[in-house]
């Protein structure tokens, strides 16, 4: 599974990043090296192994359906780059 520049460009788009053509070449090289290192995982036979998502065996953590205080609108918007009339303003979507 050799990583191509096209793969990197796809991932850049998917992750909402932006890179120059020069950077694409550099990142492709670096990521390919790392992936090559990662390939060693295939030396291990995992055909009968279940994936382990959580390091510890915990299940069923629930909270009661009880109200807790909200932030004020001012607090909610306190870090907003562009607040407008109680909302977060964003540039046009289409």
């Amino acid at each position: 599974m050799a990583l191509s520049e096209k793969d990197v460009q796809y991932v850049v788009k998917l992750a909402r990043l932006e890179v120059t053509d020069q950077e694409v070449a550099k990142y492709t090289q670096q990521l390919a090296n790392i992936l090559e290192y990662v390939e060693q995982l295939n030396k291990l036979d995992t055909s009968n192994v279940e994936p382990l998502t959580h390091p510890l065996d915990v299940k069923n953590v629930f909270r009661a359906d009880e109200l807790r205080p909200c932030l004020t609108q001012a607090e909610v918007l306190s870090n907003a780059p562009e607040p407008q009339s109680g909302h977060f303003k964003v540039p046009k979507i289409m």
């Binding site: 788009k13 998917l14 909402r16 998502t53 959580h54 915990v58 299940k59 069923n60 953590v61 629930f62 909270r63 009661a64 359906d65 009880e66 109200l67 807790r68 205080p69 909200c70 932030l71 004020t72 609108q73 909610v76 918007l77 407008q84 009339s85 109680g86 909302h87 977060f88 303003k89 964003v90 540039p91 046009k92 979507i93 289409m94």
Partner: protein, 483 residues
């Protein structure tokens, strides 16, 4: 060529928990923007979700009501995509281990019941709301900017995905109606489409009738009422058939229902394919439901509309249609059933409920809880008719007074002295008087014009101020005239 539509529906139902899925913010609708938000549902760095137990309970109830298998082991996953209404840039949803799967819904159609498969019903969080402003404000594709409000973000949703078993817009409408009814019965959602607590998307394709292979589908969004859903699906079927008949292809895409133009329109296609990169949500732990828990929730379900419908038909001798109307709302069904205890003629009661009562309630915009009379009084009316105390014309008057003032029908009959006169002696007197006053009519009758008897009946009824039993009047008149 004849074409057959293939339709699958995705319904998003907001659960009526007090708080959001992963935090303690309220779920109330319509408050000022960004006032029902905390660090968690705002997706602030460092915050973590904790699952609302009630939401799981409601979701499992939905699974039961839709005859689903309930997963013993379930988990939450992250669905990754960027959109400004999604504070974490991922939605916590369920991917390969939904809480409920492989169910079905029996939908009443004119032709009878139809079973529509339920692929899955899984738990997820709602997104916030965007207001599209500037330019042609309110429209996504031509606004200058948008404003994000996260009050709705994080409200628990259950997404109910049907199998592509639906074959017409009418079936889709019936499915949605039945599904909504069930959700209301089990009391897990307000199902208020105007407030967005019930939302629906449709996957529509068509194929030559008799073929197996699915055609290319379009996903129809933005149908915010069942009526629009029906119209949109109807339109979409026609559009696709027309394309195929012209020898063109249907493009796989998302389309929006445009209410003003009454047509579906393509959403401006995003430049990339979706790659949601689902993976297990590491901040939440698996949901492992015990047999007891699952069973207990099943036991808590009320009788569902389908079962109730069948029972009403057999127990009360109602037509399937009438049983359907009476069970279309749980409250109404209860109201009827409570009433049926007080009369020997439940069918008569049903007719009054669906007839005059429904009409008046609609006209005066009243609900059951606003009524000034109870079932006992309405049953009294039914019984008065059945006993022959009043006739059906009088009954309408009595009903009106009971509806407006809440008085008991017996009292109305009494105070207005309406009781039907069924005493033959009293009627005979009136008949004699009418015969004496109308000798020429009597002569006509005896001369062979038997039809004039109706005139004489009318006169007797008039004389008795409508209270005489018309059947008796008729009998006595005939006897006297023919003797």
């Amino acid at each position: 060529m004849e074409y057959e539509p293939v339709i699958g529906l995705e319904v998003h139902c907001e659960l009526k928990t007090k708080t959001k899925l992963f935090c303690g913010c309220p779920t109330t609708f319509g408050n000022e923007a960004n006032t029902q938000v905390c660090p968690i549902c705002l997706g602030l760095p460092g915050t973590l979700p904790v699952m609302n137990a009630k939401a799981v309970e409601f979701a499992v109830k939905i699974g039961h009501a839709l005859n689903c298998a309930i997963s013993k082991y379930s988990k939450m996953d992250r669905k990754n995509y960027y959109y400004p209404d999604l504070p974490k840039a991922y939605q916590i949803s369920q991917y390969d281990k939904p809480l409920n799967y492989a169910g079905y819904l029996e939908v009443p159609l004119k032709e009878g019941m139809k079973r529509i498969g339920i692929t899955r019903a899984h738990l997820e969080e709602d997104a916030g709301k965007l207001v599209h402003a500037g330019g042609k404000a309110g429209r996504l594709d031509s606004s200058d900017y948008s404003l994000a409000d996260y009050n709705r973000g994080g409200i628990p949703l259950v997404e109910i995905v049907s199998e592509p078993d639906i074959r017409s817009a009418d079936e889709a409408y019936a499915y949605l109606t039945e599904l909504k009814n069930i959700l209301l019965y089990i009391d897990v959602s307000d199902c208020n489409m105007e407030e967005g607590s019930l939302r629906c998307d449709a996957n529509v394709s068509v194929r030559p009738k008799g073929t197996e292979k699915f055609g290319t589908k379009a996903e129809i969004k933005n149908m915010n009422s069942f009526r629009f859903a029906k119209q949109a699906i109807e339109y979409e079927i026609k559009r696709q058939v027309a394309l195929l008949e012209k020898g063109e292809r249907v493009v796989q895409e998302s389309r929006l229902w445009d209410v003003t133009e009454n047509k579906t329109k393509p959403m401006r296609s995003k430049e990339e394919a979706h790659d949601y990169r689902y993976f297990p949500e590491p901040d939440l732990v698996p949901i492992v439901l015990s047999e007891d828990y699952v069973k207990k929730l099943k036991g808590q379900l009320p009788e569902l509309p389908g079962a109730k419908r069948a029972r009403f038909a057999s127990k009360y001798g109602l037509t399937p249609y009438d049983a359907g109307v009476l069970t279309s709302e749980q409250e109404l069904a209860q109201w009827f059933e409570e009433g049926a205890k007080h009369t020997k003629n439940p069918k008569g009661l049903a007719n009054w409920i669906m007839g005059d009562m429904a009409a008046k309630m609609k006209e005066q915009e009243k609900e059951l809880k606003d009524l000034k009379f109870d079932q006992k009084k309405l049953c009294e009316l039914v019984d008065l008719i059945d006993a022959g105390t009043i006739n059906s014309k009088q009954a309408k008057e009595v009903f009106a007074e009971m509806f407006d003032a809440g008085v008991s029908p017996a009292e109305v009959v009494k105070s207005r002295d309406m009781a039907q006169v069924s005493d033959p002696k009293a009627i005979e007197g009136a008949v004699d008087k009418v015969l004496a006053e109308n000798p020429s009519v009597v002569a006509d009758y005896k001369g062979g014009k038997q039809g004039v008897i109706g005139f004489l009946v009318g006169k007797v009824m008039q004389a008795s101020q409508g209270k005489a039993n018309p059947k008796l009047v008729n009998e006595i008149l005939k006897k006297k005239l023919d003797s």
